[in-house]
Symmetry: C2
Subunit: 149 residues, 2 copies
DNA sequence: CTACAAGCTCAAGTGAGCTTGAAGTCAAGT
DNA sequence: ACTTGACTTCAAGCTCACTTGAGCTTGTAG
């Protein structure tokens, strides 16, 4: 047992399917070396990278965005504590905004739904301004959001 | 100006695209009558229904689930305050769970990322148990989640 | 009467994030 | 030598929530 992992081992340890790991590699979120056979060999460090990816996904980042973050990691040394935490610096506000929205929605459950104000043009809970962003279910351009060119 | 809306008016008032309204109708989330011409005519009440849909989506329900909720509305009278609020009864806990997760994630930003514990098999922040559900980005069966039969 | 905007249907396309299948290679055990 | 299982690539498939386009009809303003 060296400290290089096969894709199966990496999948098992991370809980992420091998097919997903190949997909991530294809999208340049992770990288591997190859054994003589052509089989992937992962450094143990890939596990932390994968953890970071899963973490970031839960927060709501797309793989594209996550790749952008990972690209900021230094290439000259193995990323340390500070390197990782720098990446997540901006996330707190993102989380805070989402929590704030959920709290407003929760308040609306008792205050707003069913009352006369549940109306898209009048109720601040579901007004178009709040519908920007992509944190809802499914990949869609939020109603009222201009599509990217 | 009767109290029946064309699809264009409904779209404008709700902020939801006409194509989406047709799509919702196709999926039986809303309904319309037809003018002699075959054009859709919506009752004003559809606006509240649409508001409910948008609201529920922000909370993280799929259209399928939303349809299930809407089906619970009484057919014998126009839904009133109580009818609507009954629907959202179970949502509070759903929101609370999601908020709790986001708070844990936020805590992890300062405590956990970059430290030795950012490891998928050890860190409670990103462990597989927390990865169930569909509240993240994109339609996917969360890693480790069994696919529905 | 003529534009032209708005509506219709139906099929196909989009995007994210994967999974699945086909067809083949490689490594280990019996 | 043979089987089994893990791996490879590449293309195609899948879900969700829509949007877009083609081709046609309807409604309205001048």
């Amino acid at each position: 047992m060296t400290d290089l992992l096969t894709i199966g081992e990496a999948a098992k340890r991370s809980g992420v399917a091998a097919s997903a790991l190949r997909f991530y590699e294809d999208k340049r979120l992770i990288s591997s070396e190859r054994a003589g056979s052509g089989h992937r060999r992962y450094h143990r460090a890939v596990l932390r990278r994968i953890a970071f990816i899963v973490f970031a996904q839960r927060i709501g980042l797309t793989l594209e965005e996550i790749r952008g973050e990972l690209d900021k990691l230094p290439g000259d040394h193995a990323p340390n504590r500070r390197d990782w935490s720098r990446l997540s610096a901006g996330w707190t506000s993102r989380i805070d905004e989402r929590i704030a929205e959920l709290e407003r929605l929760r308040a609306g459950l008792t205050e707003c739904i069913g009352c006369g104000c549940l109306s898209l043009d009048r109720c601040r809970l579901v007004n178009p301004g709040d519908r920007a962003g992509r944190s809802g279910p499914g990949p869609r351009y939020w109603v009222g959001d201009p599509r990217p060119a």
